[in-house]
C-alpha cells in the first residue's frame, strides 16, 4: 500500500491533483492511501513552497501545479 500525501491549502488545483491520483490508481488497480495535508507547517516541513505538492512514502516527488497523468502512472509503478 502506497502512502500518498497531497500538500495544499485546499485550492482547486490541489483538489484536481487528488482526484487525478485517485483515478489513475483505480485504473491501474494500485492500492493507495491518499491523505490531504493542509496544515501549512507540515507542508513547509516537506520543503515545499509551491502547492500542490505530492509526497509518496515520505519522499517529495512533485511540487507546483497539477501533475501530468503519465507522471502519476510512473510514480504508482515505481
Amino acid at each position: 500500500m502506497k502512502e500518498i500525501k497531497v500538500l495544499g491549502s485546499g485550492c482547486a488545483n490541489c483538489r484536481t491533483t487528488m482526484r487525478l491520483i485517485e483515478e489513475v490508481a483505480r485504473e491501474k488497480g494500485v492500492p493507495v492511501n491518499i491523505l490531504k495535508v493542509d496544515d501549512i507547517a507540515e507542508i513547509m516541513a516537506h520543503g515545499v513552497m509551491s502547492t500542490p505538492g505530492v509526497v509518496i512514502d515520505g519522499k517529495v516527488v512533485h511540487a507546483g501545479g497539477v501533475p501530468a497523468r503519465e507522471k502519476i502512472s510512473e510514480w504508482l509503478e515505481a
Partner: protein
C-alpha cells in the same frame, strides 16, 4: 491573417454587413479568438521549455543571502517568469521569510509575479504592439521595485503572524527537474494543456465583452463617459479593479476594445494592473500570514503606484 479570417467568417459566411454593429462585433470576436489562442499556445509552450528549469524553491535559493538590491532585482525578474498559483502565496511567503529574505524583497516578488506574467505580456504584444507591451512590463517592474521598498519602510515585520516565524522549513531534496529536451518538451506540452485549459473561459468571456463593446458601444458615448481624460478617471479605474478578479489575460481584449474606442491609455493600463495584481481574494489569502495593517498598506501602496503609472501614461500619450 487573423483579420482575414475574421472578415471571412463575419462578412462572407454569416453575410453580415461590414460596418454594421453585429458584423463588427462578430469580426472582432473571430479575429481575437484565433489570434489570442494562437499566441497563447505558442507563448505558454515556449515559457514551459524555460520554466522546466525553474521553481519557486529554486528562486528562494538564488535570492537568499544576496545583497539587498541584487536580491530585489532577482526576485522581480524571477517573479516575472515564475508562475505560482495564488493559493501558493502563503507557503511562498513563509518560505521566503524562513530563508531570511527581507520582507521588502518578498513583497517585490509578490507584486511582480501576478503583474508581469508572460501570458499577459505576449497577448499584449499581439494586441497592442511591442511599445506598449514594453512600457507595461517596465512599469510593472518599477512598481514592484518601489512598492517593495515602500513596504519595507513601514516595518511590516510588526504585523507578521507569530506562527510564521516559528515554522521550520524542511530541507527535503526536491524532485529532479526535467533536464533533457524531450522532458522539457513534455513539461511544456503539459503546461499548455493545463494553463490554456484553466483560462480559456476567462479569455473567451473577455473577448466576448470586448467584441460587444467594440460593436455596440458608440464612440461618442465612450468619449463622454469613459474617455479617461479627467484626473479622477485613473484612480476610479484602479478602484474598479479591486473587486474584479481575473488574470490579466482575460482583461486584455476588453482593454483592446476600450483603447480602440479612445479611452486614454493610462486609464486602461491602471485598470489592467489593478485587476491583475490588486484583488480581494489575494488579500484574504495573504491575511493568513500578515495582519490587516500591513495588508491595508500593501493595497494602498499598489493603488497609489497604479494611479501614478496611469497618470504618467496619460501625460506621455
Amino acid at each position: 491573417m487573423f483579420e482575414i479570417l475574421g472578415n471571412l467568417v463575419a462578412y462572407q459566411w454569416l453575410g453580415l454587413a461590414p460596418g454594421s454593429r453585429s458584423g463588427d462585433a462578430v469580426q472582432f470576436f473571430v479575429m481575437d479568438v484565433t489570434k489570442i489562442f494562437t499566441l497563447l499556445v505558442i507563448v505558454v509552450y515556449g515559457m514551459g521549455l524555460l520554466r522546466a528549469l525553474l521553481s519557486p524553491e529554486r528562486v528562494r535559493d538564488y535570492v537568499r543571502g544576496k545583497p539587498k538590491s541584487l536580491a530585489r532585482a532577482l526576485a522581480i525578474l524571477l517573479g516575472a517568469v515564475t508562475p505560482f498559483c495564488s493559493c501558493s502565496s502563503v507557503p511562498l511567503f513563509i518560505g521566503f521569510v524562513e530563508a531570511g529574505i527581507p520582507l521588502g524583497v518578498t513583497f517585490s516578488f509578490l507584486i511582480a509575479s501576478p503583474m508581469i506574467n508572460e501570458v499577459a505580456a505576449v497577448v499584449l504584444l499581439g494586441v497592442l504592439g511591442w511599445k506598449l507591451t514594453l512600457l507595461y512590463i517596465l512599469a510593472g517592474m518599477a512598481v514592484a521595485w518601489i512598492g517593495g521598498m515602500v513596504m519595507e519602510w513601514f516595518r511590516p515585520e510588526r504585523w507578521v503572524e507569530d506562527y510564521v516565524w516559528k515554522i521550520h522549513m524542511g530541507e527535503t531534496r526536491m524532485p529532479e527537474l526535467p533536464r533533457t529536451l524531450a522532458e522539457r518538451h513534455r513539461y511544456a506540452l503539459h503546461e499548455v494543456r493545463e494553463i490554456v485549459g484553466r483560462i480559456w473561459r476567462w479569455v473567451l468571456a473577455g473577448i466576448a465583452v470586448g467584441a460587444v463593446f467594440h460593436g455596440f458601444v458608440p464612440e461618442s458615448w465612450v468619449a463622454e463617459h469613459l474617455s479617461g481624460d479627467d484626473w479622477y478617471s485613473v484612480p476610479l479605474a484602479v478602484l474598479l479593479g479591486i473587486p474584479l478578479y481575473s488574470n490579466a489575460t482575460g482583461v486584455i481584449p476588453i482593454a483592446e476594445a476600450m483603447l480602440a474606442k479612445g479611452v486614454a491609455l493610462g486609464t486602461v493600463l491602471a485598470l489592467m494592473m489593478s485587476i491583475a495584481a490588486l484583488s480581494l481574494p489575494e488579500m484574504l489569502i495573504l491575511r493568513k500570514v500578515i495582519r490587516w495593517p500591513a495588508l491595508m498598506r500593501y493595497a494602498a501602496v499598489l493603488a497609489v503606484a497604479f494611479t501614478l503609472v496611469g497618470w504618467g501614461f496619460n501625460v506621455v500619450s
